[in-house]
């Protein structure tokens, strides 16, 4: 295992222990993830997608907002090209996540990057970043987190296909609120100085404004890039190695700020 967090001789954790840690840490999202998968499947079936196509969306696209966009647009008779372009724009934020998370991976990863990329989501990016900042991250943690979400979302899709409208409306009690709460819990410990707070406020406020005009994935991309660029501008002149805190270039093992 390539463990960049152990510069000297910290005890090696086993790959499986890290995988399990990532898998279990991500289970806190299941109460939001499972109803989402079920609701998506019901929506897709209602929109004229076959059971196979519905499951294929979760297995092959595996991006909740994009999947909902696809079935909504297709159901209204949109052509394929505009739908695919919409999906592209919704998912461009993944480029940002991939670049960001790549700063932690060194050398060969297990499994290879091509597989890790397949299960990249907002949630796995967030939780893995947090784990790395706490000195507990690894490719195994990322893989465990990704598999936790991928398998639960796909099983929920299957349940939605099989049981359909027999299930109560999962959105009625607002379980999806667990997603913003999770990112809130991930954000708070990263706010270590006024620049971080300023960047967070700029991103948060601009996201609220943007969300009235564009879809969620675009909101995150535009607000995220703009606010991070402002942060980088404030940090100009600093040498690269001096960027500590949220980037933790020179990472040392330290106590977790928030346990996963």
């Amino acid at each position: 295992m390539s463990d960049i967090n152990s510069p000297v001789s910290l005890p090696k954790r086993s790959y499986f222990a890290d995988f399990r840690h990532g898998f279990v840490a991500t289970m806190v999202l299941w109460p939001g993830d499972l109803p989402y998968g079920i609701a998506f499947a019901i929506l897709a079936r209602a929109g004229g997608f076959t059971p196979l196509e519905t499951q294929a969306l979760s297995l092959l696209v595996y991006a909740g907002a994009s999947q909902v966009a696809i079935i909504t647009l297709a159901a209204t008779g949109a052509a394929a090209l505009p739908i695919v372009l919409t999906v592209l724009v919704l998912n461009l934020r993944h480029v940002l996540y991939g670049l960001s998370i790549s700063r932690w991976f060194r050398g060969r990863t297990r499994p290879p990057r091509g597989i890790l990329a397949y299960i990249l989501t907002d949630e796995t990016y967030g939780l893995t970043t947090k784990a790395y900042l706490d000195g507990q991250g690894s490719d195994a943690f990322y893989f465990g987190s990704g598999i936790s979400l991928f398998s639960s979302f796909n099983l929920a899709t299957l349940a939605g296909i099989l049981l359909g409208t027999l299930l109560p409306d999962p959105n009625r009690i607002g379980l999806s609120f667990i997603f913003p709460l999770t990112f809130l819990a991930l954000l708070l410990p990263l706010l270590r100085n006024w620049r971080h707070i300023l960047v967070a406020v700029i991103a948060g406020v601009s996201a609220i404004i943007l969300s009235h005009f564009v879809a969620g994935g675009v909101t995150v991309l535009v607000a995220g890039v703009a606010a991070a660029a402002i942060g980088a501008f404030l940090d100009r002149g600093k040498s690269d190695g001096a960027t500590d805190e949220a980037g933790a270039v020179d990472l040392v093992e330290r106590e977790p700020e928030v346990s996963l």
Partner: protein, 106 residues
């Protein structure tokens, strides 16, 4: 690509899958190169910026359940800062959200 007929969504799904995977793998591939210092500084702030942008639209500002959401988020903030446990923050936040919704009749 042509107009989609009824029942023939598999081609569309495959195209969407390829495009989505393209966005996922490209950051991983670009990130393997040595990045310029300005890009590294930028990436330092990406988690803070992205997490904040993922939270605030879901507070539904101006919407019918804005206050239960804000109260839930406030409760979660206090609990996370006090107990430093993700799960405790989530449970407290959800309970705060539900209770506020019930009390405010939303």
């Amino acid at each position: 690509m042509s107009q989609i007929g009824t029942g023939g969504y598999m081609g569309l799904i495959l195209a969407a899958a390829v495009v989505t995977y393209g966005t996922r793998i490209s950051g991983f591939l670009l990130g393997q190169r040595k990045l310029p210092a300005w890009l590294n500084r930028f990436l330092t702030y990406v988690p803070v910026a992205v997490f904040a942008a993922l939270i605030t639209p879901d507070l539904n500002v101006g919407g019918h359940d804005m206050w239960p959401r804000i109260i839930g988020a406030a409760v979660a903030t206090v609990v996370v800062l006090r107990f430093r446990q993700l799960w405790a923050g989530l449970i407290a936040g959800m309970v705060g959200f539900w209770l506020a919704g019930a009390l405010l009749g939303m």
